[in-house]
């Protein structure tokens, strides 16, 4: 039999669900315990932030919100692997990565609170990242376009896009991988496979044993990692970024994790999935194992945990206050950001809308 091509996809894990280290060859960054504590702390603050968001929504102070519960390792892992000059294109729940890059909780609240200003990230490097992208997968082509821009200009930057297991079915996701392979673009695609796309389980999305193999179609490097193991995620994404930066092409990383919460606050997951499955998933979640691993190394303990959570609470309270104090935008804001300058024809409508407002007051 003549063989035209052969492929292999590795599965990567350093720390298992119990916190046990299953490989000796720890990546260099993970040998630095201070650094690992920093990552763990961001995982914790991400979770505190998330709980706060849900509380806000439950008390009517936020619209529909998409929680990131259970995704902390995947999100912080990928965000922390990036350099500031790299560019991030997210879907909507990757707060762990975004907080790392300077997005403020108050911006997240504003966005889900129905205010476009939430997308106007104030801090670098997030300021040069893309905004939340509701139409699934579309951001992956933006990332490919940005990667192409970097290549055209000879910049040593990498574009990173994230996509869900559901989103990985969308044709434009495959198209983004395809042009990445065809033009050898510096793009890293992270499939955050949390097993569910709202109510649709992973197996309805694809007949393949992995989602990582979607990259084979495009001739990209593919790897599957334990998405609840931040070391594995950080390592796989870091290596992929290095390759991309060095002109060695794009990668697809499947981070296998689990959506512990509802899809959004508008969803009720009990309609379509069993409690047993969720219980089992909790046993594999990312925080406990990392805490255990750090504690085993003497780098973390209960007191530190309590203190850090308190700090996070305080931070979030400040952010919530800032959010709640924000006045709504004036009616003119509907018109003022559509074009660089308001066209004459639109100006008439703008004046009319303003006059209605004036009458109402």
């Amino acid at each position: 039999m003549t063989i035209a091509a052969k492929f292999e996809i590795e599965y990567l894990q350093y720390v298992d669900a119990t916190g046990k280290q299953v490989r000796k060859d720890l990546p260099k960054f993970a040998q630095d315990l201070e650094y690992m504590v920093k990552l763990y702390k961001l995982m914790v603050s991400t979770r505190v932030f998330d709980a706060k968001s849900i509380a806000l929504q439950r008390t009517g102070k936020l619209g529909t919100y998409a929680s990131c519960l259970g995704h902390e390792a995947a999100h912080v892992g990928l965000g922390s692997a990036m350099l500031p000059e790299d560019l991030l294109a997210v879907s909507y729940r990757e707060y762990g990565a975004q907080l790392y890059r300077g997005v403020q909780p108050r911006e997240v609240y504003m966005y889900w609170g129905g205010d476009e200003r939430g997308n106007d990230y104030q801090n670098e490097p997030a300021r040069h990242d893309f905004a939340w992208a509701v139409p699934i997968a579309t951001q992956c082509l933006h990332a490919a376009g940005a990667a192409l821009a970097f290549k055209i200009r000879g910049e040593k930057r990498v574009a990173v896009c994230t996509i869900g297991d559901g989103g990985s079915s969308k044709g434009d996701f495959m198209a983004a991988l395809n042009i990445t392979g065809a033009r050898n673009l510096p793009l890293v695609a992270v499939i955050v496979n949390n097993q569910w796309a709202i109510s649709v389980p992973r197996k309805i999305q694809s007949g393949g044993p992995t989602l990582a193999q979607k990259g084979i179609a495009a001739g990209l490097f593919c790897i599957q990692v334990d998405g609840n193991d931040i070391i594995a995620v950080r390592k796989a994404v870091g290596d992929a970024l290095d390759r991309a930066r060095n002109g060695e092409g794009g990668s697809v990383i499947e981070a296998v994790t689990y959506r512990l919460g509802d899809h959004t606050t508008a969803d009720d997951a009990r309609r379509y999935r069993g409690e047993e499955e969720v219980k089992e998933a909790w046993a594999r979640e990312p925080m406990i194992r990392m805490r255990k691993w750090l504690e085993d190394k003497g780098a973390w303990d209960d007191a530190k945990e309590t203190a850090w959570k308190a700090e996070c609470d305080e931070w979030m309270d400040k952010e919530v206050d800032a959010y709640l104090e924000t006045q709504p935008q004036p009616v003119s804001a509907m018109f003022d950001y559509l074009y660089a300058e308001v066209p004459a024809d639109l100006e008439k409508q703008r004046s009319y809308a303003l006059s209605l407002e004036a009458q109402a007051h």
Binding site: T64, G114, D172, A197, I204, Q205, L346, R350
Partner: protein, 326 residues
């Protein structure tokens, strides 16, 4: 007989037709066990099984293309786009195939499919969950574009859409999904797809609208009545092919017309109605045709969305303007 909401009427129509016609199949994201994010397909999966209520991979192009394929094989496929804002990836299949297959093959292959989508703003949803983009489809020959505005019309028009031998784009005004209940006999009776519905008779001014804005227009008519102005209210319901005769007749009587819709004004479907009036009823017009619509902007995130949506007050003012003009 139970009182039901508009969304329940959608479910009732789907269930009726699926029970009476084996060839009817529903597909889309989350339409199965979850019953759709708005519960339009609630209970159907249990009743008809996973091969007639099909959860698809997350790709609207897949949904649309597979729907066309199914329909060509004698399966009456009803596709759901989860929100109207996700219908864009369906456009190539709808415009290039659903709307053309019969014409292209001189009748050899047909596409009896329905493309359903929740539609419009006013529910405090995130971006892309509030658009009124019916207009994208009204310039595509070979389609029917339908927008019900009450539980009874949702039931009857959806049945008609499913039974229609040609493709129908069926937008459901989500703002009024659960606004009120009414009795809708589950008798399988379809409503016609080739007429506008006159919801209220009047003699002074004609209010023409569709979808969720029917509510504001009826309210406006009430208010106007309070001031002694008699407004006729027309629910266009099927935008294309358009039953202009009903509108023309009304304007012939009233001499005044206000077209109300949620989509941006420029090149919204209201333009077509105003244009027809200018073309075919000019001598009946006693006043300029008014359009009360969304602005030529993207519907804002929810803190500002009510500032975008046409209000009852704006309709009343416009109607009065037509009366002042002549």
């Amino acid at each position: 007989m139970a009182q039901i909401t508009l969304i329940q009427a959608v479910t009732q129509a789907l269930a009726w037709e699926m029970a009476h016609d084996d060839s009817v199949v529903v597909l889309g994201e989350d339409v199965g066990v979850n019953g759709g994010v708005f519960r339009a397909t609630q209970g159907l999966s249990e009743k008809f099984g996973e091969w007639r209520v099909i959860d698809t991979p997350l790709d609207e192009t897949t949904i649309a293309g597979v729907t066309v394929g199914l329909a060509t094989q004698g399966i009456k496929a009803i596709a759901e786009a989860q929100f109207e804002g996700f219908i864009y990836p369906m456009m190539e299949q709808i415009a290039c195939h659903a709307a053309r297959m019969r014409n292209r093959t001189r009748g050899r292959i047909t596409v009896p499919a329905v493309f359903r989508a929740p539609w419009g703003g006013g529910i405090h949803a995130p971006e892309h969950h509030s658009e009124a983009n019916e207009h994208l489809f009204t310039n595509i020959p070979g389609l029917r574009v339908v927008l019900p505005s009450s539980p009874a019309r949702a039931y009857g028009l959806l049945l008609a859409a499913i039974r229609d031998p040609d493709p129908v784009v069926f937008f459901e005004p989500k703002r009024i999904y659960r606004q009120y209940k009414e009795e809708v006999p589950d008798d399988g009776e379809a409503l016609p797809l080739d007429v506008c519905f006159v919801l209220r008779d009047g003699t002074d001014v004609t209010l023409v609208t569709w979808g969720a804005q029917v509510k504001e227009c009826l309210e406006a008519a009430d208010e106007l009545a309070g001031e002694g102005i008699s407004a006729e209210v027309i629910d266009v319901a099927t935008l294309t092919p358009l039953d202009f005769d009903t509108i023309a007749e009304s304007v012939h009587k009233t001499g005044r017309c206000v077209v109300v819709h949620e989509a941006p004004k420029t090149a919204g479907f209201g333009a077509e109605i105003a244009a027809r009036l200018a073309e075919e009823c000019l001598y009946d017009l006693l006043a300029p045709v008014e359009r009360v619509t969304g602005y030529d902007v993207h519907i804002p995130l929810y803190r500002l969305e009510t500032k975008y949506l046409p209000s009852t007050e704006r309709v009343v003012t416009a109607a009065k303007r037509t009366l002042a003009a002549s």
